[in-house]
Amino acid sequence: MELFEFLTPLFVLLVMGGTFVGIIFGAIPGLTATMAVAVCLPLTYPLGLENGLALLLGLYVGGISGGLVPAVLLNIPGTPSSITTTFDGYPMSQRGEGERALKIGIFSSLVGGIISLIALYFFAPALADFAIRFSYVEKFLIIIFALSVMAALSTDLLIGIFSGFLGIFISLIDTYDVEYGGNGNTRLMPESLEYWLEGGFSLLPVLIGIFGLAAILHEAEAGVPKGMSMKDLKVSSKNKFSFSIFKDQIVNLVRSSGIGTFVGILPGVGGSAASILSYTYAKTFSKNPENFGKGEPAGIIASESGNNGLTGGALVPLLSLGIPGDSTTALLIGAFTLQGVQVGPLFIGNNPMTWNAMIVAMIIANFAMFFMMFYAIRYIVMIITVPKHILFPIILMMCVVGAYTINYGIIFDVWTLLIFGIFGWLAKHLSLEIAPFIIGFILGHSSEIYFVKSLESFEDLSIFFTKSWIAVVLWVLIIGSIGFSVLLSRKKQDNTANEVAD
């Protein structure tokens, strides 16, 4: 049982504590699972990799699940991924079936989480085994593919691609590292800043800035809306919840969890895409599509199993290719780097204990989430009333602690936090896409090494097309995803034009 050495009371406690805090972050509108992970990252330094991941994965699962509470009770999604839960959850709540709606959502979340976990368990090692054979050429193309998928699923293809390349560009403001075969020269910076920027912008302060500080700036801009009072949050229980509701919904549950998992596997695509897609499918295949949006339980089932399906799915590309599946898993890369562990195709094989720990942590987190929320929903609801004027300053302080301690005390990291906090705020108003930017930033450096080293060894540009059949397949996928996106935007334009004409 050497492989389960990590399973200590502390480990279980950390997962459960993480899940609980995650639910709080998820349930408070304006705070997200990503922010929960960003804020709690500094706490993981002394915990070691397995225990640190236990906490972070708990936060992740809890954060994604907690969003359903305000979605049902207040018509406000607690996290972006529970937006479709509001469509049917709130009408049910207004009908006096609040508790029933919440419990349907909670159970669907559990099923979504578990199904995606099974997919993760079987799919990640297989994909990693396959990816081990990749040379620098294929690795470079995988990154381009990841960016093209993300751009394709952005609201605007051109701006999505631009954001991804901007991320790569910013990641290149550093030294071309000798350790990776570079020539040790700095680039893209004035001489006066060389002292600070020699090592580039550190990943975690950038992420904490974008997901922590920027979120607070947005809330401040909106005047820090007052917290909820218990009066707003009445959990009505006119119609009791019963598991029999799921009898006719097994197909919907499995399909939505599957869609969530698949969307999670696509790099950089967040939870809102997972739930919107599951919801749309559930509506299309439903016998009573006209009931959707008026308090149809199947809508909540689709939305919540879809967004929790994301949790396992998003870890697949992270653990097999080193490419984060969404913004929260991008932060997990930070946790790995912190402990000196590199994620990529060799990760699972070289770190079987950590791999097991992650799976066990996810199982515990999903069940902890279920029991905490299902049986204590009335108390969980009270948590939403934690006032923001208390919470936000603490979050800001934790952002500073995280940024400062990340490299053991470099104040420039705190300024990085501020720069990217303001950037995150600006980006939203400029309609820049954050997910491709982050993935570009994280993978920019590797993509440079893969690209330049491939050219140095083969001295031929055509190598990117002729290296292997995998390279050819990847090109087909890259062109396919861009073509798909162009088609999609054309269709959208046509629809708008038709609507205008009507």
């Binding site: 500094p42 603490i394 302080m397 440079e448 540009l461 055509s462």
Partner: protein, 139 residues
Amino acid sequence: MFEFTKVTIDFETSHLLFPTIISCILALLGISILIRDRKRIATSGKHWSIIFSKMDKKRFFGTLFLTVLYFSLMVPIGDLWPNTGYGFLICSIPFLFLAGLLFLHEYTKQTILPVVIVALIAPTFVWWLFTDLFFLSLP
């Protein structure tokens, strides 16, 4: 494969190769966006004036100001007592208090008291956690 696809990379300038390519792509993308969205960009002044007119200026700029002040003072104050984390502690308490007040909507004894308590306890707890328990340096 073909002669024109052949490339030789000069190691001395290899650090500029990828940044140059990315800059060119960025510039191309930027120009395409400028051309495509020229109408929207031309009227962007209006977009920003709407954002600023809707903005809660006191809270937004207040947060920015407090944050910059907080970041700037932490190290100089911390340098007075090196490696103790006092800079963090001394700056965090007023920062939490002032930020709490800034975000607060109704100023009564019942609402201000929790802000004071949290401003005292939270930084002290984090300071103790990081310096005494985790042995990590704070400013």
